[in-house]
Symmetry: C2
Subunit: 338 residues, 2 copies
């Protein structure tokens, strides 16, 4: 089968590899209907994460079950499924606490930018639709496998409540989904920090009430002016750099929480300043499976549509162009069709 | 009047100073009925905070209003009051969000280990009892001015919920009050980390179900064994050192929050480990005034009695011995009677 691999910074290739097969009795193999490129894939593409040359890449997929292991009870060939990027048994003590991203049997989708992918713990991980969705529904459903659930996790971690003022730092697809999550969780004022017009437009579509184009201290100052001089009730940090975290902490009012979902790269938390202002931080990898049933219901009911984050659709053959487009910020998020 | 001053590490004195007078129209002067020594006073006493020689010290008091400024409406001479260690107007935008510890008109009790103390923003800060309490009630009420409210803030910041498993790191008076707070907030299992028998006994009185005597990694391991192998739902960090914070983070289950109220001294937060396990931190100086009405109701109703943290009562004249007793851990917390 064809699958995207990464060999070095800037060097992704579509290669032929053996099709994955069920290994453990709880596995499933999914034929990929759509996948996409994640902001976190760019860390490797840009050389900021270490690369083992030839590693298959991609972790966001929807598709059709091709084959299941003998212990898989709830799925069978032909089911249309959304596969969380992190797999879980959804039954261990950690999953029962609602933190499926730290499941005691954690697994990950690998090589999702390809034709087939292996999902561990299929019964715990996968969620299926009652019927095969229309092609038009696929992008929104695909977003639930990671980016929308991650934006949701940022908002939940930041304790967004009805009526809250919210700041979202980061205008990538996760940040935009954070805007959408904050809106659905009842935030009254949603301030998106973005200097890119196409992204500002998506943010407004998703519910942003204000756009702040300044960054750093100036950005935080602009937030203060919009929030009674004190900062926002909740802040979503959706980048992962030290600068973005500092901006997020500065934009938070005393007593607020910064929900962070950008994998930290060089972040140092200023604990004494946090203590002095009673600003907390919470977050991490999203427990996608926890949120997925609710997000799926909302999506099928027409209450949630994250699909506008996909502003470029390419055939899998053109995956290298997809990476370039995202790296150069010509595209917010690229959907790939095998 | 007599007031305690600190001149150098290990050098506290009772000196004569002018009695404080109303300066701003919103001030009140309180005649101190009882005060006490705080764990945070020991940072200075031990030379870990900078000292301006001769600085009056002490910030926890209950007493009787002696004099009020012309704009004070809710209090008058003769009222018995509890004075939060941090003063607030209780009406600014930050206070209205419930974070009175960052009031835009923040003030502090200074020289509370003395005969009289000035309270800024009297109407916003003070809470009075409907009648003058019995002498037997004074210790519990005194604890509400800081230590009990701070333990409560640790538990609230850590998001203690009914049925939760809770770990408390630190067996000083704040940690013990954290145990009591967790119990009143409905925690089911409360694990106190303590190797001092008298403190273990108070912890059990306050509701601790388990005692862990190990520290550091061994302590965290002991917690794991008590919590289904995954760690506690909520952790209260009531010390403020890097070692205690590491222990707290290790003892937290994935998805938990560490509520921290020990002023950080040399703490470095391991952000990538926190992200990897979805463990958050929240806390800071306690917004005492926010909790005070509820804590007072509970205390007067007999539902909350933090007074066992005071295991040594001394006349103000013997304040130097009080500091020695706390420094040498001969006393948990010393109550001073002017």
């Amino acid at each position: 089968m064809r699958v995207t691999t990464i060999h070095a910074p800037g060097d992704v290739r579509l290669e032929d590899r053996p099709q994955p097969r069920v290994q453990a009795p709880t596995d499933a193999v999914v034929r990929v209907v759509a996948s996409c490129i994640c902001g976190s894939d760019l860390w490797s593409y840009r050389g900021e994460n270490e690369i083992t040359p030839g590693t298959p890449i991609g972790h966001e997929i929807v598709g059709v079950v091709e084959e299941v292991g003998p212990e898989v009870r709830d799925f069978r060939a032909g089911d249309f499924v959304i596969a969380p990027f992190c797999h879980c048994d959804n039954s261990c003590p950690v999953c029962r606490k609602g933190m499926q991203a730290a499941c005691q049997n954690l697994g990950f989708t690998v090589g999702g930018q390809g034709e087939y992918a292996l999902v561990n713990q299929a019964d715990g991980s996968l969620v299926k639709t009652s019927e095969t969705p229309d092609a038009a529904q696929v992008p929104a459903l695909l977003a639930l496998s990671d980016v929308m659930a991650t934006g949701w996790h940022a908002a939940v971690s930041a304790r967004v409540e009805p009526g809250a003022s919210v700041v979202v730092v980061g205008d990538g697809a996760v940040g935009l989904c954070g805007v959408l999550a904050a809106a659905r969780l009842g935030a009254e004022r949603i301030i998106a920090m973005s200097r890119h017009e196409p992204r500002q437009a998506v943010a407004r579509t998703f519910g942003a009430t204000d756009i702040v184009v300044e960054r750093g201290k100036e950005g935080a100052q602009a937030v203060l002016e919009l929030t009674d001089g004190i900062g926002a009730d909740a802040v979503l940090e959706c980048v992962g750099t030290n600068e973005s975290m500092r901006t997020a902490l500065r934009a938070a009012r005393p007593g607020a929480t910064v929900g962070f979902v950008g994998v930290p790269h060089g972040v140092e938390l200023p604990v004494n300043a946090m203590f002095g202002r009673n600003v907390g931080v919470a977050g991490g990898m999203a427990p996608v499976r926890k949120y997925l049933p609710d997000l799926l219901d909302r999506t099928l009911a027409g209450d949630l549509d994250p699909s506008p984050v996909f502003d470029l659709v390419l055939p899998l053959d053109e995956v290298a162009e997809g990476y370039r487009a995202m790296d150069e910020r010509r595209a917010i998020k690229v959907l790939l069709q095998p």
